[in-house]
Symmetry: none
Subunit: 212 residues, 4 copies
């Protein structure tokens, strides 16, 4: 009798996670607008008013999803890329963690992120996530650069980070369409593109537009 029976009345924290799980699932399947609160509630096995009581408006719910999933992903990446490793290894581990996460949480991040980009009300939340991500990546690069005595402007770093993120997302899509591919191998591929390019940059190589 020490194991509690499967209660119907669950404590708030548990129910909130259930709701978020359902919401992430439905939002990613249908898209923000097409998702209905009814479906989310039903999928969470609870009535609609509870969703409103605990997580608020549809928009607020979406932001909560974004927040939870974003945080999980950042933790996965940050946990993988120990700051005392050399830059390329950190990047490699980070990428591997990222692709692993995206592969495992197809619903969670990739789709929420894609949804969010299209809708204005989430600009703020997204900007925050993006900023943290860019910061992490730019941090890695900057660290490596300084180790070699080089320095690059903030905008430069941001742009590189942006490009890496975009390329990574794109490969994540590609991975999603090629289930036979293994995520580690995809990460390696990404490293090949990213690191060789970024590595060149780090070493001072630079491409210049031809004279017209």
């Amino acid at each position: 009798m020490s194991t509690p029976p499967a209660f119907k009345r669950l404590p708030r924290a548990v129910r909130e996670q259930q709701m978020l799980d359902a919401a992430v699932k439905v939002f990613s399947r249908r898209g923000f607008h097409a998702a209905s609160m009814d479906e989310i509630a039903e999928d969470a096995g609870i009535s609609k008013p509870m969703v409103y009581a605990y997580l608020g408006t549809k928009e607020e719910l979406f932001v909560a999803c974004l927040h939870r999933e974003g945080t999980r992903m950042m933790q996965a990446i940050a946990g993988a890329a120990a700051p005392d490793l050399p830059a390329d290894e950190r990047l490699w581990r980070g990428l591997r963690a990222f692709f692993g996460f995206v592969g495992a949480h197809r619903d969670g991040w990739a789709v929420l992120y894609r949804q969010a980009r299209g809708e204005q009300p989430f600009a703020a939340e997204l900007a925050g996530m993006r900023a943290r991500m860019v910061e992490v990546i730019a941090g890695m690069l900057d660290h490596a650069l300084r180790a070699e005595g080089r320095e690059v402007g903030e905008t430069e770093l941001e742009v590189v980070a942006y490009a890496l993120v975009g390329a990574t997302e794109s490969l994540a899509d590609w991975l999603a369409d090629h289930p036979e591919e293994d995520s580690a191998r995809t990460a390696t591929r990404m490293m090949n593109v990213a690191w060789l390019g970024a590595g060149q940059l780090l070493h001072g190589a630079s491409w210049r537009p031809p004279a017209e």
Copy 2:
């Protein structure tokens, strides 16, 4: 009475373009779902039933927008990247054309595209656009490789092209959010990341994951 009247009722083709102009404007300002057929019709200076008569359903209308804008963009790129130039110059010109287009048509492409990525019904159309782009880029790379007597597996090429496309799209978003940035400069930035990395790859360099 025998001379044709000065058309107040414009010919169908013209009307359709007006509608598409209005639709592109409204879709990008509001997003696909938040855009209303009422607003589009009003903005086009025409009644709603006409929109349905000429361009069909809201989804069909959006696809038509996507199609027109996508075609325009592909033409802009294709026209810029003459096939007889060396690969890096073709890529550079293509990128410059792309970023130039995105910069000039903030409404048009960048935003529609961002919308479309989030919604399932447009997956097909989008996949098509992206496929065409990947094909073009892969073609460029392959061309360059063969010119140097090298050859790379199809999958490799596709992956690299995918990554480049993703990085480029990501920078396009970045450009859309930084109106003060010059589009040619953004293209140069992209080249720096892309070409140095891809160029290394093409010449046989390769990064390998560390032994764990």
Copy 3:
């Protein structure tokens, strides 16, 4: 063929009146909150979206009712109380018209007005109506006073008019609850209370509080 058949597609102006008729009826039967837009639409023999298209929000609809009924009432009163009559006769005619209106439009005025008094969003509209009424009555009294060479401060007039309006409204409620009562008789009753009191005031009589 000259008499048009009973069309189903009626012009906007007609439909708006039908909707207002239905709204007045339902609002007075159920009260503002308990009234449902569904019932109003059904009673008007039309679908809900038309109500929203023509008359807007539930609140706006209620205000429109208030406005129409209030205007009708003011016109009835103004038309009855010709400005060239002596003050008591003007007041009498005004009251008779007022109670006549209330008796004939139980739904319209008495109830809407009763509803409106309880709800904050309509305070402005109501205050406006009451202000116009107070102004009219104060005007009558002032006119009469000046005809007798007397003059009273503006505040005094306003207070008297306010009291008269309140007493009248209260008797209108009473009338609404006593359908067997004749409205002219109620008007006479009101005159007895109002005029004798107000008349005394006008002639300089005044009551003073006893020393405590």
Copy 4:
């Protein structure tokens, strides 16, 4: 165990008063429908089920508010207007008490009363309150009349009482909008209108409609 515990949990009567206080506050601020049981419970610092356990349904709760506030007001008035005083002084004291009460309990009666008039379910309760009020006022008047050897029909008395109540309420509103006015002065003003008119009536004066 035989000694009653030092109540932390307040005795029922006290809790009920707290709830009524909160309910009166919320009902008058929001109106009956817009008021939510949640807000009332929260404002009372107690959980919702307790409200239901102690005071029943929302409607029953409102009736309880109406009842308590109405009773308080009647007591204030009755306590002020000692039955052995002359009629005008009784009326004067009653009015002063009424305005004082309304001024001091802006939340309390006047607002609840206004709410109640718009909603059917409270017709019974309201009729009762009104009857007591009319009875008190009519009692004053009747007393005075009989002292002068005159007698007036019940309906007449009721109508006069009604008009006085309406005028008084209206001046209470006016007072609310003119905070610089003192309530005793407003009561005096009301007396001027009411008593002079009613006083005339009591002494046999009467206004007659003109022949048409």
